[in-house]
């Protein structure tokens, strides 16, 4: 029987991940405050809420299980159409119940297609997931009697939530609804991720061979998390449908899946908040870009993606903003802007070297500040 102190230490270390950090409390308090502080922006905040949930669902399979998916929109879209259809044909009137059922529908699709994702290389997974999303889109396109086809599903009326809260055009009720769903599902996801199951996922992602060698059924775990993530994506899609009373084919598009990857590359993967933080950042960027260049903002999103991959989250963002600023100020054409990008690429080594030196200086500064602070604290009696 090992000494109690050691056991206590071990228990504490194991439980470290599950403990709530101060920043987490701050985040959710800020989210709650936004309900009261920004009443005029509830519509865009609602978009951020379901996008955050969608991104969270992708993080579950990408950041925790290591599955690269280009077609997560398949589950999002199915949930969206399911919720819209349930409301339109008055099969399930109460939105929360419809939400749950839509999520289940997406989960079923996730479960059915999970087996395809287990085998093969990264490219195979990309292909399969993309293919499934496109098949879903094609199905929706080919049954316009049910889905409204290319025009989208019209005439959807959403009943009051829980029988009492009617969705309003300013989006107040909608935002509180989406935020609540996001919070509840986040708590659940957090529970799962900090559990033995979640730990085994991280093991599977890091070393599937060794995982199997200690008795973990790798495929079963991947199927489980894929289905779970599909449920979350379906719920996110349902929230979109319910708050906009509309469903259209672009819920399945490659652009949507790509936007989602951008959200996660901005926010980071593998720590659950990546999708949430990334969604906020992404919406702000998209909003800002749309004001400057309403028609071709996709160009700047593309540029941002390229620079983020080349220079990482912080520097990539800074350089992208710089290029954008310069292009806007000098009224450069897309062609000239592309030349700037090529020039950046040509000088990559120099820029990288410069940035690495900057990194070192910053680290030095932080270290210096820390030791100065420690010295200051020691001087006090």
């Amino acid at each position: 029987m090992p000494p109690t102190a050691l056991l206590e230490q071990a228990t504490r270390h194991l439980a470290l991940r599950a403990r709530w950090r101060p920043l987490e409390y701050a985040f959710w308090l800020a989210a709650l405050a936004s309900v009261f502080l920004f009443p005029g922006r509830h519509l865009i905040l609602t978009e951020i809420a379901w996008l955050a949930l969608f991104a969270l669902s992708l993080d579950l399979i990408l950041g925790y299980a290591g599955i690269i998916s280009l077609g997560h929109a398949a589950f999002f879209g199915l949930g969206s159409y399911a919720a819209a259809l349930l409301a339109k044909h008055e099969i399930i009137n109460e939105p929360v119940a419809a939400l749950f059922v839509s999520g289940l529908a997406a989960a079923v699709l996730g479960f059915a297609t999970s087996f395809l994702v287990l085998r093969g290389s990264d490219l195979t997974r990309l292909m399969v997931t993309l293919g499934i999303a496109l098949i879903m889109r094609e199905i929706a396109n080919q049954i316009p009697e049910l889905t409204g086809g290319a025009d989208g599903l019209q005439g959807v009326v959403i009943a009051p939530i829980l029988g009492t809260f009617q969705l309003d055009i300013f989006g107040h009720v909608g935002y509180v609804y989406c935020l609540s769903v996001l919070f509840v599902l986040f708590l659940l996801a957090r529970r799962v991720v900090c559990s033995p199951f979640g730990l085994s996922l991280r093991a599977v992602k890091g070393n599937p061979l060794r995982s199997a060698s200690i008795g973990i059924s790798v495929n079963a775990r991947l199927v489980a998390i894929y289905t779970f993530a599909a449920f979350y994506a379906g719920v996110a899609g349902a929230l979109l449908a319910q708050t906009t009373a509309f469903a259209s084919l672009d819920v399945f598009s490659l652009e949507r899946s790509a936007d989602l990857l951008l959200v996660l590359i901005i926010g980071g993967t593998g720590y659950l908040y990546g999708g949430l933080v990334g969604a906020v950042a992404f919406k702000f960027i998209q909003d800002a870009l749309a004001t400057f260049d309403p028609q071709y903002w996709q160009y700047w999103i593309g540029l941002l993606l390229v620079l983020l991959v080349l220079f990482g989250r912080i520097y990539g963002g800074v350089i992208a903003a710089a290029v954008f600023g310069v292009s806007y100020w000098l009224r450069l054409s897309f062609f000239e802007c592309a030349l700037i990008l090529l020039a950046v690429g040509a000088g990559y080594r120099h820029i990288r070297g410069w940035l690495d030196r900057l990194d070192a200086r910053v680290l030095e500064f932080i270290r210096g500040a820390r030791s100065a602070r420690a010295a200051l604290l020691q001087r006090r009696p």
Partner: protein
């Protein structure tokens, strides 16, 4: 009483090459059995076949009398067959505490639990710490595995396999790559393994083989060359010839 581990005419072909050409041997319960042979003889292939990473082209594998030839790798672990890898296969981003905890939780059937946070099972935590203590890893138990020195990583490699409480343990060159001054720790650990655990050891280092094994099988070009007690194998002139230049009694 069936042998702890037995292969019957085990074969593995890659295209036209027979990596394992009809290997039949028995490992008795509680034995300390060594599998040796020159490089490329097929030793790791045999281990991969035994654990299910590779599917045999022909032949059968029996674990305590039960046919496990077609059983999936992770299920073989549940039935009591564990292994270590020649090149460390660890969870680099996890701590030793978490890694061993995973193995124990899996063994107890609690590995897929998604509701309770990690670390709330007192009995699991106790067992983790016990095992880590046995392998001298308690001082680094909450460090990221990737940051540990190689010797400690090697110990963790074995600890992970032991955490599965196997009936049969396959050790693939446990001392490989370990610096001279850290070797004795590994060897002491291997020697201190519980007596009821059957051990099949692959090794190149003859000192380890002859101090540890009570039975030795020699694998050459995918076939069993010699199979017997250490003195028998040591004195066999054919074995010396096969290990050209390598002295067996140094």
């Amino acid at each position: 009483m069936p042998a702890a581990l037995e292969t019957v005419d085990l074969q593995k072909h890659f295209g036209g090459i027979a990596a394992v050409a009809g290997v039949s041997f028995k490992v008795e319960r509680g034995a300390r059995h060594a599998l040796i042979g020159p490089n490329g003889a097929g030793k790791t292939t045999v281990i991969n076949l035994l654990t299910g990473v590779l599917r045999p082209s022909a032949g059968r594998i029996l674990l305590a009398g039960e046919d496990i030839t077609l059983v999936e790798p992770h299920k073989r672990v549940r039935r009591g067959l564990a292994r270590t890898f020649q090149i460390n296969q660890l969870f680099l981003d996890l701590t030793p505490l978490e890694s061993v905890g995973l193995a124990i939780a899996e063994r107890m059937g609690a590995g897929a639990q998604w509701w309770r946070p990690v670390g709330t099972h007192a009995s699991v935590v106790e067992e983790i710490v016990e095992i880590l203590a046995r392998f001298h890893l308690t001082d680094v138990m909450h460090e990221r595995t990737g940051n540990l020195p190689y010797g400690k990583q090697r110990l963790l490699e074995i600890a992970l396999a032991i955490a599965c409480r196997p009936r049969v343990l396959l050790l693939d060159e446990p001392a490989a790559g370990v610096p001279e001054d850290e070797r004795h720790e590994i060897l002491a650990t291997v020697a201190a393994l519980p007596a009821d655990v059957t051990v099949l050891l692959i090794e190149h280092d003859m000192d380890i083989v002859f101090s540890f094994a009570d039975r030795i099988s020699v694998l050459v070009n995918g076939a069993l060359f010699v199979d017997g007690a250490p003195e028998q194998v040591a004195s066999d002139p054919r074995v010396k010839a096969v290990y050209l230049g390598e002295s067996l009694d140094a």
